[in-house]
Symmetry: D2
Subunit: 258 residues, 4 copies
């Protein structure tokens, strides 16, 4: 009844909280760690939740990787999106099964992978990047997550607008969102949401002003911070360091002008 791990599957190989890796199980490969070598062939036929022993006799546990683990393992020619930001984007834009979504700025494909996972099996994601090198990275990354069939990659300049129309939501992750807004307006369903991610407050200001003067209302800009806790009996406290900033998220809805 338990699902057995097959050649080609992805697992999270876990030694401890600081040493865990997303692994593509390849029967011809060995994985080298400070705690010995793990022969990946020996993982085939095991179940998730079981362990494999390294050459030095240490236990490495086989866990189901989350989308966050995939993201951490992505090749990244550009900054990847963090789960804290991606989670809010999903909920604010209503990314869910059956939705048709446009993404402007594929980058490393991290948000592409997350959104593609959620629109399947009946929806679709159209992602645009002018940089073909980024697109190639993104395709390799997204392929790992088993959602690539739900993504159309377009090597086009988002400033020129999009091929699709009446999509359910549009997400922009580019340096000049204000240049994308007119085209996004044309392709978006009436009343539907647009999102944008920008590192600097100057970009946010310029984006919000462009949205307001391009028939978008209900604008909202937020930032999200995550702090990890160190939990130990009688000694629990926040961890000492954290990511202080990734970017601001902006959301708005299209209205139909006269």
């Amino acid at each position: 009844m338990m699902e057995k791990i097959k050649n080609g599957d992805y697992i999270l190989l876990y030694f401890d909280n600081r040493r865990k890796w997303l692994i593509n199980v390849d029967k011809n490969k060995k994985f080298h760690t400070h705690k010995g070598i793990v022969d990946l062939e020996r993982i085939i036929g095991l179940s998730y939740g079981e362990f494999v022993e390294s050459s030095l006799g240490y236990r490495f546990w086989i866990l189901v990787p989350s989308v966050c683990n995939f993201l951490s393992a992505f090749e990244r020619p550009t900054q990847i999106i963090y789960p804290k930001d991606a989670g809010l984007i999903i909920l604010k834009l209503g990314i869910a099964s059956g939705k048709r979504i446009i993404e402007a700025g594929t980058g490393s494909g991290s948000l592409t992978a997350i959104m593609a996972q959620l629109v399947k099996p009946n929806g679709h994601l159209y992602t645009y990047d002018i940089n073909s090198r980024f697109l190639n990275f993104a395709k390799r990354n997204v392929r790992k997550t088993n959602a690539i069939d739900f993504v159309t990659f377009e090597n086009l300049d988002a400033k020129e607008g999009f091929k699709e129309s009446d999509v359910d939501a549009i997400m922009i992750d580019l340096a000049d969102p204000w240049n994308i807004i007119p085209g996004a307006y044309n392709s978006l369903k009436g009343g539907s949401p647009l999102g944008s991610f920008s590192p600097t407050i100057n970009q946010v200001e310029k984006t919000v002003l462009a949205l307001r003067s391009n028939c978008f209302i209900n604008t909202e800009s937020i930032e999200c911070l995550v702090r990890e806790m160190h939990i130990e009996k009688g000694k629990s406290r926040p961890t000492s360091r954290m990511i202080a900033h990734t970017g601001y998220l902006t959301f708005a809805n299209k209205i139909i002008s006269d």
Copy 2:
């Protein structure tokens, strides 16, 4: 080609950023505001993105409601989950189409609604609450989001364990997560994730210790903060007040003991 609004549809009726309401369009009802009365019948046949005029001649815009708008409008006998927390739960637990998920502690059904939206059309959510009054509220709330067919509500004590087995993830939102962990272990697939939401750090400490001694590894506890920005040309800054705390999120993965 544009979708026309029908009797019974949900819309976000928007006047400005502080005055917006989730509305169930009922041809026999009128909606009273400080800016005049909106005759809901007049909305039928319009498209999302268009506006309706109130009796005083003000424009109210008709937007597509996000799941966050539904949440804000939920009847809430208990604290509802915030989008910042729900977003992380979705990604860490891998909630997506086709997954089978258990939720311990239905409460107002806010997380129920969010997860149900994402597992459809091929997955299912099983939600447990010992309190039948909460379950009734939750059913009314979830029904609004069009995902109720993907939810089984169980008026049972989660401490007694769950009927399902081999589920893909389990989410606990109860005051004593440590009492749910043994039953959760039994119903969860090997290597798969469990999540828990708790307001106090004492609960988090007790939960993490219980997880560690009940064959869960990869424990992680975090808190998430969202701050809104006030964006105005040349005068942009964070808003003055914010939600300082909702609760801590804890995640871990099940391993198979010898």
Copy 3:
């Protein structure tokens, strides 16, 4: 040996954490609360740490007020400074006994009071405000803290520069810090620090650029957040709401141009 409370003294009258008041003990006054009337004459001759009973028999404790309690009780025609920000200003500007300090923008006098307390008995604070109404409020406020003899109030426009020269530090709390910088440069000792407080990021950007092009180096801009904890046996957690933003602090040091 214990100090007895005299007519005219300031005390913090404490009922519980949400009901506490800075009180000027006046033998002819009564203080009305929801828990009865406190006859202030009965406080005279008591010691700090003792209590007085209200007309309804409730205990009100007499505590030594902190400068923070004074601030909370200030009349405020303008936004007051928060302790979190004032504390950093003191340390970054080296406010201490014997120092000569200029403040541009007296406002309600909250930062004036804090700095005056610290420069006495051998230093002095020169505070400038173009608005005479603010200055009158500030004088009344600062008088309460027993430090008014160490403050010179100037009803002048800080944009015109300052009368003093070779001061140890300058603090600006005005809407257009960049207009104050040239005059501040003239009055500040070489190598010494200037501070500025601004609510918007646009002001910060403009201030920092003006500092850099006006012979200031070592520029640093920060924001400070304080979150209160709710402490209860087994139920400790951050409080639910907090101040999300007051303003940004900017610091820099003057260098001597060729």
Copy 4:
């Protein structure tokens, strides 16, 4: 009229925001940097705000060091206090000229140095540490700040109580504040404030409960976060990483029991 730098003075030697050092000017020493050697003798006779050239012709600016710069340069056998926390301690405890203060837990002497600077010339700081090695470090550190004459170092166990009585405030920075509270009560003036710094929430809970059952009221526990901003024309944003946690601050006032 300008103050000339003498042998033995402390300066902040500044190259850029990441390369700046607290330097004790010693006419026999040279300071080696990646941008060349700075002959410290050449600094003598210069004024603060001027520059000295390195052997490679780079300009190094001579700034007035803040107490924060001294702290960064302290030898630290134990964790030092951060300015964000020290600033709040000063204001909440009313540290100012003329006050008599007890510090339990000298540690590296960072808070000792800050408080000593502020109580002079008429006040005094009594600091206790059971660890004589820490005290020696602390003495060396505090000596640099010119405030050592206002400090009495006691190599005693704070759990045994303090020699002084009727002090204006007491600050505890030890792992077990609850054990210090009874002795602190005896030495503190009625109505006056006590402060405590603790890294873990468990310590905070235990401390607050001990305060409440030992005739302290007005308890308050807070945490303080500082985030730095990256300011650049048109590209301003928070920095990417920050200190997520140092410790919690707890304050309370002594009442006189019957």
